[in-house]
């Protein structure tokens, strides 16, 4: 798939819709703490930073997993879990440097985002455009284009 949720935190206003739709679509429960995407907030600066599983290619969570339930799906590149075998030991949680693993206290297992199998609900419902779902090539290309544009604009001023 080579697609990823690209987060532009500058646009996030912390509304939390992504958390709600994620929890609802993945667990059927309207409870943000079950959401696979989290908004971290720094109360002072008015900063809201959405955070979700990045689907690392060689994920540290998989290395840490005591039951080898975390696998990379070759066709899609997703980091997926065999939920029936998870014993909820939470070793993946400490080993994820991003803190993107989520403990589902109802099922007593650890879960992560699976990009809704290719059509992430959080992105669809994000009202500000902070969340985008795009190909990695596109993400890189857009960044470069922004830089190029800025350089040219600066070049004109200089």
């Amino acid at each position: 798939m080579n697609k990823a949720v690209v987060i532009n935190a500058e646009l996030c206003n912390g509304c939390g819709i992504c958390e709600l739709v994620c929890a609802l679509s993945t667990t059927g429960q309207w409870h943000p703490s079950l959401s696979r995407i989290k908004i971290l907030a720094d109360g002072q600066e008015n900063l809201y930073l959405p955070l979700t599983c990045i689907h690392c290619i060689n994920p540290p969570c998989a290395t840490a997993c005591l039951m080898n339930v975390i696998k990379k799906e070759p066709e899609t590149g997703l980091t997926i879990r065999d939920k029936t075998s998870c014993i909820g030991c939470r070793a993946c949680e400490i080993n994820c440097p991003f803190g993107a693993c989520v403990y589902d206290y109802i099922e007593e297992i650890v879960v992560n985002c699976d990009l809704c199998r290719g059509n992430p609900a959080c992105v669809q419902h994000c009202p500000t455009g902070a969340l985008n779902f795009m190909e990695i090539e596109e993400m890189m290309g857009r960044r470069r284009e922004k830089t190029a544009h800025e350089q040219v604009i600066k070049g004109m001023k200089a």
Binding site: M134, E135, E137, E138, R142
Partner: protein
Amino acid sequence: MYGYAGRLLEVDLSRNRISIRELAPEFARKHIGGIGFNAAVLYEELPAGIDPLSEDNMLVFGVGTMVGTPFPTAARTEVSAKSPMTGQFGTSNSGAFFGTQLKGSGFDALIIKGKAERPVYIYVDNGKAEILDASFLWGKDAWEAIDLLKSKHYGVEVALIGQAGENLVRFASIENGYYDGWGRTGLGAVMGSKRLKAVAVRGTQATKPYDVKGLLEISKECQELIKSSPFYIPFTKYGTMNAAVPYGRFGAMGTYNFSRGPLPDWEERAGRQVVEKYSSRHVACQSCIIACGHWVEVKEGKYSGLKIKDLEITPVASFGANLGLNMDAVIKATELCQRFGIDLVSAGSVIAFAVELLKKGIISREDIGYDLDWGDDEAVFQLLQDIVEKKGIGKILAEGTKRAADHFKGADKYAVHIKGLEIPMIDPRGRWSTWTLGMLTNIRGGDHLRCRNPIENLRYNENKHGYLKERFGFTEKAYDQLDMPADLKARAIDLENDTVDIAVMSRWAEDLINLFNSMGICIRPPVMHKIGPTVLARAYTVLTGMEITAEELMRAAERIWNLMKLFNIREGEEPGEIKFPRRFYEEKAGGEKLDEEKIQNVLEKYYEVRGWEMNTGKPKRETLERLGIYP
């Protein structure tokens, strides 16, 4: 497979079916790539006698072999189909970045068959292709459609038609991005007849060379070779506009529908110095070290604010010389043609033809609906739009000069075309050379771009050697450096008398250009001048790992040329068709009248050199056997 993407994509629009063909190494070696693939596919698979604008026609995009490597100027893609202009082999070549993306998406060629029920476009992304609805694009001009496609599919390169192609104007072009295009032979009309608005491609797959170090070395070597050409510096600076003054002086520039000779104010109006007036930036195609393209800004006058990539000799000749527009208007004309998706050459030529018919009283102002005159940009653009929309007389003119001439009694005298394809410039009356014979022998008709003496000298315009020879005009050193088999070189160039045998050189030049077009290399003079088959054979070997000699490469190029010739003969090409426009034999403009008999002599000499039958030009049996073609 090293060097090649290794697969050909076939899209059948009638059946809505996409299939992939594996590229067999023997096929690749035999036909090299680019135009070679196109010729082989069309010759083998296209039935004779079909209507070019019917669903039976096929459109092939063949990416040159070296495309997708750092080899200098390797950027070119050939598009071919049965031409709606000539009814024979239609083909056109363009650079920019489309080929790199198509090859990067995993295909060496794209073969389009059939006809869609409603407007569609093809989206190719890394080995996968989709036929998608194009109703949001239909009716849009090329630039708008590209914008829409690029915003929908990130990072695509687009080949598409404008309104001209949609409306089946016979000389519609396929546009290659905003500013480039496969202009000649009406391929846009073929695409339009298939209801195919665009092909958007995107790919990140790598071209894997056989010998990495070798490829790096040969790329560097060829960069240096090209740079060592005396044409290099002028071409990096002025691009094709270098030719504006010599052509103008020689009378090789077609002026006012080829009715007048050199224009007195031409050098001042359209000499290469105009590049400096309009442009300060250059634009390159993929891997090119010449960057002959200019970014042009019109800073004053009624077209002020117009910015495009332009100032090629072709629009300057077509609209500046042939129609008498001023340079601002020429730039505007280029923009319009790019947006409408119409061949600059044919459009300019058809309109010039109409102007002359009006002047000669063959058609009247009422036929057109407004005043039309040389240099009247607004009227010219109005007529251009009428042609694109097929309104009024535009409907007739949209069929091309040859077909339009049949409409008006007495118009044939003023119709400037070869085999139905209009002529951009290189009036043979002004300058007879290898190029001009190449216009006659050109498979697609109508232009000089398939035959160019690898070392052509634009300093001289001497016709003292009659039709069989032209002046060589280079030093012995240049002769020695020319990459040609020794015996052939000795036959083609007579150093003592400083002459070039036009027939022999034509054959070599055509094969060489065919080789360039199959390998995806540009035929700009600095490249033609320095890059020969020997170095290309090395490049082919390091890229593909297939050991090949210069001789085998040239034979492949010859094979491709013969395949195209056989295609034409199958489509009913008559020996009598192969002639210049009537007025070239009858009027003196640009230089002396042409001598039909002498031309026939050169032609026959050429046929002999090619191994074709005298008079008819059909490839002889032994020629075909030598080339491994078994029709």
